[in-house]
């Protein structure tokens, strides 16, 4: 009996059973063979399933061995210790939640458009660099960060990352973290909104389907509020049905006289999104956000499962090269810069995403039942997101490279016609004829696919190929718009939710200066702060959409840098806590990812700020265009002096932001280093910020499937409950 109540502090050293040795050896062999095929095959095309096998094998080994090592040795989880869900239980914020249910909530909160967009853009470097970074990055950095932040926040009754930064590092670190979170969110929202605008521009089908989600969500909101309170599943089924109808209806609208009404220019869409963002974020949650959230969660999970099944059925062959020449030359059209550091910036979500630290120190730690469950929820949840990123990379790599570059290079580079696009792609060393471009657009019933940047259209083309091959029913146009809808839907949810979070941060900060602001339901304050947040991301969105150089390739690196900066803050906080709690010998677990992340972020910002290459450095770009402007010249791809001025303004703003982000990272790491040195010199003075130990009376399994010992304990606890009650 003593043996079954594992406290995890003294792991029993037993010889593993033979069956387990055999299984794990097999998993390792399959993974290793798959990696061998993926990494060593040159000059011939390989099946996408090798990528999946390599990733899944690696995830399994990492989860079984590395995550377990961290949980037992580094974090020393203790299942006899009550979690905040148990000690502070109030059945609203704090509530012990079944691990499988919490996994669903946590995954729905961390997974969004990020792991879908980044890998698509990074496919410019070939499939190999992205695959390696997504898998290695998640195992040693991303999943570790998510799990450890979740654990430390849980031990502190669910404190946020900002609060932990202030308590562990100090006011400077805390303020830097707060400013960092806010700016990142603005850039994030702008980039995501830009993805939607690029996907919907000049597409009556897409615009109509997405526009219909607003009345659908409103209907669901009223249905849930007044007709059938709390019947979420039934409401969602109706909603998804209407959504599918809206996708089909988009096809009809495109062929009807309404088509012109829904064919909008990018600028019009920007204004539509800004107005939508403002209105949505000041409306009560039940009207628009809550139903949207249900819809996008169901669509997200459903589509991910569909994509996994589709890949298995279609078994597509990768058309992309393993490593393209852009990786070393750094002159790719999708985004500038060479493999290091820019692959690691472009693919943030899916490998390492600082944003997750906000979720892991938000609601999840207040709901977790047992300390050991951080492995399944924190580490496992991030592995799942990584799997989504690999699927997106595959979807971008199964389409013809010529089409990929014709879709993802900036409009200014590709020119106005199919012929000019075909020539521009040939200039990059790939080929696609104007006829093929026209046929590709016709197969998904879009007017054109040229310069449909932002990642979403490319992913949608890849997914539509996989789905129509895998499920055999054709319907590529339907699947394309299904995929666009799926992405746009949860991006709009993120825009709404993110604007609200930004507004709350602003209200909270301003409330320190001016009391009335602190009341979050005070209408004038609510409108003002919402308007400020929307204006901030709206500015970057508008600048991105109208940028003559192409908004995505200018803004996406900034988004990546910002996201990885947040990861640096999270990993710094985690490393500081490890050192302050006397675990210097394990500090490498978060310290090495931190060093890597800092190297990546700082190199990228350095190049973005100081590079002499105008394609890469924002200020070099600014100098080049402002000199030309002084001489009255117009440099392509700009077409007028106004364009020239816009390039100058944009590159100045972007350059200042890149420098600002880098400065924040340096400040936080330097401040944390000071705190760590102090703690190491005088270990006795280091105070613990953990909540005190309370003995747990809850019984719950650690992993997905309960062990025999856990089942016995649960059965005993259930018997005890009945006896106690009777």
């Amino acid at each position: 009996m003593v043996d079954t109540v594992r406290t995890e502090t003294t792991p029993p050293r037993r010889r593993p059973p033979l069956r387990s040795i055999v299984i794990w050896t097999l998993v390792a062999v399959v993974g290793a063979v798959a990696w061998g095929v993926v990494a060593l095959t040159r000059g011939e095309q390989i099946s996408a399933l090798w990528l999946l096998a390599a990733a899944l094998g690696s995830y399994a080994i990492a989860y079984r061995f590395y995550a377990r090592f961290i949980v037992r040795r580094v974090l020393k989880v203790d299942d006899t210790r009550a979690t905040p869900a148990e000690t502070l239980r109030n059945d609203t914020d704090y509530q012990p939640t079944d691990r499988r249910v919490l996994f669903g909530h946590h995954f729905a909160a961390i997974a969004g458009a990020g792991p879908l967009v980044g890998p698509v853009l990074a496919a410019q470097m070939g499939y190999l660099p992205g695959t390696i970074w997504i898998v290695v990055g998640v195992i040693f950095a991303g999943a570790v960060q998510d799990m450890i932040v979740l654990f430390f926040s849980m031990r502190r009754n669910g404190k946020s990352l900002g609060q932990m930064a202030r308590e562990e590092i100090g006011v400077v670190g805390g303020v830097a973290a707060l400013v960092g979170v806010f700016t990142i969110m603005i850039i994030l929202l702008a980039v995501l909104a830009l993805v939607v605008v690029n996907a919907l521009a000049h597409s009556a089908w897409g615009t109509f389907s997405i526009a219909m989600t607003i009345p659908i969500a409103l209907f669901m909101g009223f249905y849930l509020r007044s007709l059938r309170p709390g019947r979420v599943i039934e409401t969602s089924i109706i909603g998804v049905g209407l959504l599918l109808l809206a996708i089909v209806g988009g096809g009809w609208v495109q062929d009807s006289s309404w088509a012109d009404t829904f064919t909008l220019s990018p600028e019009t869409l920007v204004w539509a999104l800004i107005i939508y963002g403002f209105v949505a974020s000041v409306l009560p949650v039940w009207m628009l956000l809550a139903p949207r959230d249900y819809l996008s969660t169901f669509m997200k999970i459903g589509t991910i499962i569909l994509l996994a099944v589709g890949l298995l059925l279609a078994r597509p062959v990768l058309q992309n090269e393993a490593i393209t020449d852009f990786a070393s030359r750094g002159d790719g059209p999708v985004f500038s810069g060479s493999l290091f550091p820019f692959v690691f910036i472009t693919i943030a979500c899916g490998a390492l995403s600082g944003f997750h630290a906000l979720i892991a120190s938000g609601t999840t730690p207040k709901l977790i039942e047992k300390e050991s469950q951080v492995r399944m929820i924190g580490y496992g949840g991030m592995l799942m997101e990584s799997f989504v990123a690999i699927s997106a990379l595959i979807a971008a790599s199964v389409i013809d490279p010529g089409l990929y570059y014709a879709m993802n290079a900036p409009a200014g580079f590709l020119g106005d016609s199919l012929e000019s696009a075909s020539q521009a792609v040939a200039g990059l060393g790939f080929s696609i004829t104007p006829d093929q471009l026209a046929a590709a657009a016709a197969s998904v019933e879009e007017s054109t696919l040229v310069a449909r940047t932002g990642g979403a259209p490319t992913l949608a083309v890849g997914m539509s190929q996989i789905f129509s091959d895998g499920f055999g029913a054709g319907g590529q146009a339907f699947w394309y718009h299904f995929a666009i809808m799926f992405e746009a839907l949860f991006i709009l949810t993120t825009v709404d939710a993110g604007t609200r979070v930004g507004r709350f941060m602003l209200q909270d900060t301003l409330g320190n200066v001016w009391k009335p602001m602190r009341d979050v339901s005070w209408k004038p304050g609510l409108w003002l702060t919402s308007a400020v947040v929307v204006a901030a991301w709206g500015y970057f969105l508008y600048a991105g959409v109208t940028d003559p150089l192409g908004g995505i390739n200018q803004l996406f690196p900034l988004f990546g840098i910002a996201n990885q900066l947040l990861a640096a803050i999270a990993l710094t906080v985690a490393t500081t806590i490890l050192i302050k709690s006397g675990r210097l010998k394990w500090a490498w677990v978060t310290g090495i990812p931190l060093l890597w992340d800092a190297a990546v972020t700082l190199t990228a910002s350095w190049q973005k700020v100081f590079s002499d290459d105008p394609r890469l450095g924002f200020f070099a770009q600014r100098d080049r265009f402002s000199e030309a402007l002084d001489n009255g010249e117009v440099l392509p791809p700009a077409q007028s002096l106004d364009d020239m001025e816009q390039v100058v303004t944009n590159s100045t703003v972007d350059g200042v932001l890149a420098a600002f982000f880098a400065l924040l990272v340096v400040i936080i790491i330097a401040d944390a280093a000071r705190v760590c040195v102090k703690a190491l010199r005088n270990p006795a003075a280091a105070t613990s910020t953990e909540a005190p130990y309370v003995r747990s009376t809850l019984v719950a399994p650690s992993g997905l499937i309960p062990t025999r010992a856990e089942r016995e304990l649960m059965a005993a606890a259930a018997r005890g409950d009945r006896e106690g009650a009777g």
Binding site: G230, L289, L358, V501
Partner: protein, 67 residues
Amino acid sequence: MTALLGAVGRAAAGVWWYLREVSGETAYDRYVEHCRRHDAAGRVLSRREFERRRQDDRDRSPQQRCC
């Protein structure tokens, strides 16, 4: 055959349980149970009142959605 049907039935019941839990449909059941446990004589909100209050609470605590 009956064993197969039983297994399918259990799987369906599991999926249904999971959907209800994940979507928050069971929140009201838990609330009622919570009220009974703590104050058996106290007034229990109706489902409509409870769901309204729960929705309105979300206005005051925004939930982050990630990228």
